[in-house]
Symmetry: C2
Subunit: 182 residues, 2 copies
């Protein structure tokens, strides 16, 4: 099972593809997309969209995972983030992939075991879980890998088995939102 | 000069293309894009993007005009609107077109002569200015035509001439923001 995580942003968009083979996660690829600083806002969006489209075609993941965003510092930053996230979801949809959304606390819980973990803890745990030589940086890359790992935890392994067998208690499972192409 | 106006929305995206020949504006085409209600959110974005891409290829406008959005009811609606607006700007950028942004008050002033005009006044004035038989509906279509007309007012005719000749006073001209492909 191969998951492509995205952490969209209008300045920099992190991405990371994680595969599960047997009982181990391993990194397929990761990085970030940043348009040249001279680019206009529509050109930045085009850069993100074209980059992700090429990466998805290259990686051929089973699905895409992204963080839900209900919160943002303010309306203006929400709007900017929304633009970048819109073109990221578009690239996933055009590739015919299901998109899974996870709340930030759920991602932190899946990766660091604690819903209020700080950024450096997330980076450290992503490094450990994937057996990387270096800490994934910048944050956007670690965050993209974290959401991919979170999806793997939910859909494979003992947790997923438990969720499938038991009707999960409210707020515990089904913390994700699924968009499956119709 | 042919302008393609867009009023993006995640449920419905209005569009309208207006051409100026001599001293008159006339309608090239207008309408709205709405994905089937069964579509997932990423599929809605794909519907908007594919629709606008086809329309821009068909219309071959000189540029695209959209409303700026600094305000929104709340962060959540700003996020949703941002997604739709992101894929609209992407379609314009992919078509190699400059994008001009206008503040809502500026559009209302250009079309109805009053920055706080209500929706029905805008619809009525768009109908009059383009010599239409019926009022453009829904609102999204009238709003898309209004922003296209606003751009024509700014870039052609006596107003544009005056702006070009005089250094405009603060807040009067340059109310638009331009994104020209580099």
């Amino acid at each position: 099972m191969k998951i492509f995580g995205i952490d969209p942003g209008s300045v920099r968009t992190g991405y990371g593809c994680v595969e599960r083979t047997g009982n181990r996660h391993h990194l397929v690829l990761c990085g970030s997309l940043a348009a040249p600083s001279s680019a206009t806002f529509p050109e930045r969006l085009q850069h993100i969209h074209a980059g992700l489209t090429a990466l998805l075609a290259d990686c051929r993941p089973d699905c895409v995972a992204v963080e839900t965003i209900f919160h943002a510092r303010n309306v203006r930053s929400a709007l900017k983030l929304g633009h970048a996230r819109g073109v990221a979801l578009l690239a996933a949809s055009e590739a015919g992939l299901s998109v899974y959304e996870y709340a930030p606390a759920e991602i932190k819980r899946a990766v660091a075991g604690y819903g209020r973990a700080e950024k450096p803890q997330i980076q450290q745990m992503v490094k450990l879980l994937l057996g990387l030589a270096a800490t994934p940086a910048p944050h956007d890359v670690a965050d993209a890998l974290a959401v991919a790992i979170c999806h793997l935890h939910n859909f494979t392994g003992p947790t997923a088995e438990a969720i499938r067998r038991h009707k999960p208690s409210k707020g515990v499972a089904r913390s994700w939102r699924e968009f499956r192409p119709s």
